[in-house]
Symmetry: C2
Subunit: 533 residues, 2 copies
């Protein structure tokens, strides 16, 4: 039995020495597994004893570990979504996971999965398929990867349980390429189940967040997660493409650096015999790129915060979509570029990722994200006025608390019907020393936050480009000047006025999709309690 | 004098309290500067005393710090390369740096620079321009940023010293937006000077690397540097676009993590009360993404090496262009994808960045980068045979030393006329434990390096996707298994065979352009001796 496995022992002699022994040992193990699987299937079947003739021999079994021995370029593989074009055109090869498998007498109906696509397979005992082969296939653990050779055929009735509803595969060969453990720490089916608000204490098994994250490679296989991270790639692509079209240059800024501003959120790094810090922000080097005449720059990269926050929206490490841009006379030139870029991203997602948005929506029921053609820009004072009108007491130059931030989001949504807006002219006292004060009211500053579904996704501002004034502001905020020398010097040789912002990539995806936790939009989220995986 | 400055005092009254005082103080300083500059210019001129009538008053001076007071949207700015389309069409505004300035009697000829574009300006005393204005303009320190209003006019003779050789600007207004210190730590002209090999001990001033890096914002203003980092952005863009077109998904991998393999090159990070490490490689999470069914993934991001290397090609932090991809039966499916991606990048650079390549070539004379339509793949043993033929003694399963690597590059270039090639099947002993051994010869492995101009830019391999075999190989290499649990577990629930690689982005740019030091292709290079800027 098992044609593919036989190759191992046949060629085993070619190996030599230690490595060969290991390869041979691994092959041996695979062989043993194959035998025990076959034995198990045989044992479950009263009719087929060890000596029963198996007319399907060589058409199924455990493949040896693929070590790039052969190219097998004669095998033409077809993806699941393409199979519909191969109906009644003969045999094809498909590689996929065993999503589920249902045995029924002399038949077996595995569902094969490729990413989010599923198709039903059928094996029925006949002159090609043996009872042993049906048993063997029925016993392959879920999530194992298999190669099958099969004929795509039309089905009269829609297969509701699969994404391919009009085609099924009549299997003629099955080989296990990578066998999963039979006990899974979570079931993909459970992890994929829609969260129905009516079913809060219901009978359906839920998978809690820690179990998901502890077994992230399984959790990521759900259709919603497959969609979330494809859409996330789209956010980054759109951000870069839109800015590149607008004359921006991508740059890369160092992550290990000396501290730039006083702050408690730095991770310290042992840098040879000294201490360095992980960047909590990339503004220093972005601003240096501006002083170096790159005019409009962006960078997409890791940002670190040693913040002991255990909220739904904080990570110790996230991806910043950061930009910096010169302007002629008013930082609103930059503000409009940023808000238009975000609007263009929202449009791009809506138009190019509708399938992904739908897949996420099937698990997490949320309202579609709403935005205006022309982004709404409110003054900070207008926001405060709206809050006061709603009965909230808050000071004129006080930063927004999270509850007020969220409430304001709801008020704005009710009044303007948008999930995206910008609050401009934040209190100066709430911003770092390098923020340009408002020329008309020194209590405020030329700075802004951007909000999605009522939560902050980005902070930005005009920066002070005059070195003397920067020193003055640093002193005012009691920021240690000695460590800022290189930063301040960057402005001593002529620097255009400029503004910039940092956008939290995971937050954009989270709020665009209306998810409730940033751990859902970071592929491998790390927080103060989690560094693994 | 100075219309723009006057706005300060006129509106100064609107300010209040502390912030206002500061803004007013800053404005005051600007005013004083303007006056002293004007005084200096007046002082140098016997005819124009303090009381001389200045008929250009209000048309020149130091602008107040741009604090986004006005939008001035009536001013239409034109970029230097566009000016040729505005000849004889009246006045335009241009913002740029004072590149150089030459005064000659009653005339002054500043050269205005925008990034790498330069244009000559002319101010001659007439009914619009006063002597004082000519003096003032002539005294503006180099590298200051100025706004000018001027008429673009044709010139009869080519202006050889500028990139715009057929147009000059007849200036009518000049305002200093950001004044540079009059003493620059390096001259852009010196830093831009071509390296002529005949001039090794010559008279021309050179700027050494440390001076450049200590004053990076100035150094980056040279035409070669402006070109290098625009081309570098192109490398990243092409890498991502080509892979995205080929069905890859971009992912983001955590940089702070627990150690993955035994190795001395980890930076340690204080992670709350514990110790964590900065990623020396992203393979773990890329492989997890593969096990999670993302099939083909790439990531562009920071990679850290606590390596005390002081060579021309090592940094403690660089950008990895990393990818991971499943394959059906042979890792050459991946190898071909990678080598074709690199070839497509080389073509993209050649076709889309010819101006940048030329600009770099003007400073650093190098041979154009050569590559074959179909990338050359040599076996490691073939490479060793070529070295032996050239008289080098080296063992069969010994890794390549740097001198041998470079020599082999020259031999390959001589024989195959290519600066890019791949060496396949490296000795197993030279690769990490997770590398798949060669099925035909256990001394070797399914791994490869890629070379540009004879130096390594990328390492890649088929990874072991069988958890038991992975444990066996880890034990063989004495890698601590306890810390590998999450990594190994990733393969327990079915994983496709896969391969991947990491490409050093700065090295690709360095060798493509034929530069001699990686610090030339990292915008802010950090090494064991440099964390600033």
């Amino acid at each position: 039995m098992v044609e593919e496995k036989k190759n191992v022992s046949a060629n085993g002699d070619q190996f030599s020495k230690k490595g060969a022994k290991k390869a041979a040992k691994a092959a041996k193990k695979a062989e043993q597994k194959a035998e025990s699987a076959a034995a198990a299937s045989a044992g479950n079947d009263g009719e087929a004893g060890d000596n029963a003739v198996d007319h399907a021999q060589g058409r199924y079994g455990l493949s040896e570990m693929i070590q790039s021995k052969d190219k097998r370029s004669e095998r033409i593989f077809v993806t699941v979504p393409e199979l519909v074009n191969h109906v009644d055109k003969g045999l094809v090869w498909v590689r996929g996971r065993v999503h589920t498998s249902r045995a029924k007498g002399k038949q077996c109906f595995p569902i094969l999965r490729q990413q989010s696509s599923t198709i039903q397979c059928i094996l029925a005992v006949n002159d090609i398929i043996s009872k042993q082969m049906v048993k063997f296939t029925g016993n392959i653990p879920k999530e194992s990867i298999i190669d099958i050779q099969a004929k795509p055929v039309s089905v009269p009735n829609k297969i509701e349980s699969c994404t391919e509803q009009t085609v099924e595969l009549c299997v003629e060969q099955v080989f296990v390429i990578s066998q999963a453990k039979s006990q899974l720490p979570l079931q993909i089916e459970d992890a994929s189940r829609p969260l129905n608000p009516d079913d809060a204490g219901g009978l359906n098994i839920r998978v809690n967040q820690d179990t998901r994250l502890n077994n992230r490679v399984l959790d990521l296989r759900t259709p919603a997660n497959q969609a979330i991270f494809r859409l996330e790639a789209g956010v980054c692509r759109l951000f870069r493409d839109i800015l590149t079209e607008n004359g921006f240059t991508e740059i890369h800024t160092p992550k290990i650096q000396l501290p730039d501003e006083g702050g408690e959120y730095f991770f310290t790094v042992n840098y040879f015999k000294e201490t360095a810090y992980l960047a909590v922000s990339q503004y220093i080097h972005r601003q240096m790129a501006i002083a170096a005449d790159f005019e409009k720059v962006f960078t997409v990269g890791a940002v670190f915060r040693a913040e002991d926050s255990h909220t739904h929206r904080h990570l110790i490490e996230f991806v910043g979509l950061d930009l910096e841009m010169t302007f002629k006379y008013h930082y609103h030139e930059v503000l409009h570029t940023i808000s238009n870029t975000l609007t263009a991203i929202f449009k791009g997602l809506r138009d190019q990722y509708s399938r992904e948005i739908e897949a996420v929506g099937q698990q997490y029921k949320v309202e579609p994200f709403k935005f205006l053609e022309k982004p709404l820009i409110l003054q900070f004072t207008e926001g405060i006025a709206m809050l006061r009108e709603a009965g909230i007491e808050t000071g004129d130059d006080e930063d927004l608390s999270l509850p007020n931030e969220k409430l304001l989001g709801r008020l704005v949504k009710a009044k303007y019907d948008t999930d995206f807006y910008i609050l401009d002219k934040f209190p100066l006292s709430a911003r770092p020393f390098y923020t340009m004060p408002d020329p008309d009211n020194p209590k405020y500053s030329n700075s802004f936050d951007m909000f999605m579904r009522g939560e902050e996704i980005s902070s930005g501002a005009q920066r002070i480009h005059d070195p003397e004034y920067l020193i003055e502001r640093a002193k005012h905020d009691a920021v240690e000047l000695t460590k800022l020398a290189a930063y301040i010097d960057a402005f001593r040789y002529g620097c255009s006025p400029h503004a910039g912002c940092s956008i939290g990539m995971e937050r954009v995806v989270m709020f665009y999709l209306g998810l409730n936790n940033i751990r859902k939009t970071s592929m491998f989220p790390h927080d103060p309690k989690r560094l693994m995986p």
